[in-house]
Amino acid sequence: MKFNFKKNVVLTLTLFLLILAGCTNSTTTKTDDISKGSKKEKIELSFYFPVSVGGPVTKIIDQLAEDFMAENPTIKVNPIYAGSYADTMTRAQTSVQGGNPPDLAVILATELYTLRSMDAIEPLDRFIEDDYINDFYEGFLENSQADGKTWSIPFQRSTPVMYYNKEAFAKAGLNPEKPPKNWDQLLSYAKKLTIKDGSGEVEQWGVEIPSSGFPYWLFQGFALQNGKNLMSDDGKEVYFDTPENVEALQFIVDLSRKYGVMPKNVIDWATVPSDFMKGKTAIMYHTTGNLTNVKNNADFEFGVAYQSANKSYGSPTGGGNLYIFKDIPEEHKKAAWKFIKWLTTPKRAAQWSIDTGYIATRKSAYETKLMKDYVKSFPPAAVARDQLEYASAELSTYNNGRIYQVINDNLQAAIVGDKSPAEALKDAQQEADRILKPYN
């Protein structure tokens, strides 16, 4: 009996230890293999990127990485699709907190303050040669530079633009070559473009302005057209509840609730382009990043124009920059920079713009023959670039995630009719002031 007992104990313990040992052993050998392999042969870069527009963007990025590796056999780039912009940011932050940051990533240019306060990113000045940086559009550098340093390189940058269906314009008796220039025209055109069937159901909307996910972005355009930007340059103050902004939000709400030329309630970001291509709406406000997608899939003639002006033209910039992370080996940083430089050569920036519709971020990209020919054959490709003249920095503050949440929630509350525009913006202002208090 006693003998049995001991034997059993020993048996159980050994079994248990064996299992534990099995687990640990297999994992350690695995990681060892990887790190040894990469040191001997190649530098492996993990590259997070988001997709926020239609079309085969993942494929294009994979192809870019492969082309780069063919030219640089010592570097292996692993592109990792990380979801929306917000998801990519979350993933990068989580990896940084876990001590395992990606080597480089495409993240919203506006996350600069947040990434810096986390001490997650590397300033790039020591890599930048000569006047490389001066070739980028100033509008895009606004969200990329701070404290006299350059922290990220503009890559998939955009502005919202107005897409309009030329055939629908012609049918409504409007000149297809003359898109609406100001808010009054936008409203009166949209009224003419709204078509109802016999029972009073809308078959074609006049205009759609998406309001899911990040409604602040398109609202910011209207705010800029009606006055000034939503925040101070140092990212410590916001100006949400000015009379001009209330007026701008009232205009957006009225389009659907008063005039019935836009669908009521929250309009989904991703379905707006399909609505446009299916002829469910005659005008849409959307990112220029969707241009190539619309071009390839719309079976009608369409035009692209600036967002309508009120007091002036106005637009936020948008989109993602390339960041290099801090806690990675020096040779990874160098390799990552090599990849960034390669991605942003004028010819490749031009090709990327042609493939997607994003604005080529460098002036010299528009001087390449490739781009010149493309713009000649398809003039809308230059509209977003030209609109940059009226563009200002995208909403970006300290504690960005929270400020976005506050303004987005309140904009949606006004759009679904829970609050009046004045109330919504007042609430957003109060809440934002409270969030930004520690930074002032």
Binding site: F5, N8, V9, T12, L13, F16, I19, A86, T90, Q93, T94, T114, R116, S117, M118, D119, S199, G200, E201, V202, S212, G213, P263, K264, N265, V266, I267, D268, T271, D275, K278, K280, N399, G401, R402, Q405, N408, D409, N410, Q412, A413, I415, V416, D418, P438
Partner: protein, 297 residues
């Protein structure tokens, strides 16, 4: 004699502990330690990006008491539970009784009832995103045959929660049906034979035999579906991100937002502690009051 008795309990205890040891270690690492750490962290304020946190006592909890979004989320979660739990249970019971009867193509129907369970929630959310699309989505398409105008189910606060509830019930009822099916097959057939001889009506048979004997299954399903109501938020990420204006936001998704979008670890920990308390209360009520009233055959 006395000594021997003690010796054997020791042995039994020792054996039990020994056999429990592996799971105990994993539970400690992955459950007990994180719980304690979460409670500890909920008393601290950690600003984004800063590594030092400041002890602030109960301030995180006080903040939550005044936080409109928090109360909205709690209210939503209660509606969500009220909407999904009873409907899933009743539907699952009806489906199980239906496919347990002698009908044609029984296995086909069972498969159709069960298949939503096999698909991941993310995929289901994407399918239903299309079903709910205003204008040309499936439901609006059908509504238009009856002359009913386009409804933006996910875009307005009035309908978004109901739309989510319908989808979740659709997804999980088939899963619960499987438990009921097993429960039904465990009920001795001679009870039904007696009922038949006595000439009891179908409804009375269900009321006096089927339903009471299914009670253990119902308790189990009730626990699972109630915890699911707090646990399942995958669809929110795909469909609405909590919008419009938090109308479809649930507690767990709010925790995710506070923790990984705002990086406010203290507040997220406080929220997690509250969620944990809700779950513990549910478990206590279930095991100590409901459990006694249930007859295990």
């Amino acid at each position: 004699m006395k000594n021997g008795w003690r010796n054997s309990t020791f042995k039994v205890n020792f054996y039990s502990w020994l056999f429990l040891l592996p799971s105990l270690i994993f539970l400690t690492i992955f459950t007990f330690y994180p719980i304690l750490k979460t409670i500890y962290q909920s008393f601290f304020q950690s600003m984004q990006g800063e590594h030092d946190s400041v002890f602030i006592g109960l301030d995180n909890y006080k903040y939550l008491m005044e936080d409109e979004v928090f109360w909205e989320v709690i209210k939503n979660n209660i509606w969500y539970a009220l909407g999904t739990v009873p409907t899933s249970i009743i539907l699952a019971m009806m489906m199980a009784c239906f496919v347990n009867a002698k009908i044609r193509a029984k296995s086909w129907i069972r498969t159709f009832f069960f298949y939503p369970t096999v698909i991941p929630t993310i995929a289901i959310a994407n399918i239903w995103l299309f079903i709910y699309t205003p204008g040309y989505g499936l439901i609006n398409h059908i509504l238009s045959w009856f002359g009913i105008g386009s409804v933006n189910f996910l875009g307005q606060s009035e309908t978004v929660m109901a739309a989510m509830i319908v989808m979740i019930v659709w997804k999980q009822a088939g899963y619960f049906m499987i438990f009921y099916l097993a429960g039904l097959q465990n009920i001795p057939t001679n009870l039904y034979e007696v009922a038949k001889i006595e000439g009891t009506s179908a409804w009375n048979t269900f009321k006096t035999i089927t339903f009471p004997l299914l009670m253990p299954t119902t308790l189990f399903v009730f626990i699972i579906s109630l915890t699911n109501a707090f646990k399942l938020v995958d669809h929110i990420i795909v469909m609405t991100q909590g919008g419009p204006n938090n109308a479809s936001n649930l507690l767990l998704y709010y925790i995710y937002q506070v923790a990984f979008r705002f990086w406010d670890k203290g507040l997220a920990s406080a929220l997690t502690v509250i969620m944990l308390m809700i779950m513990v209360i549910i478990a206590v009520i279930q095991f100590f009051s409901l459990d006694r009233k249930i007859h295990y055959s």
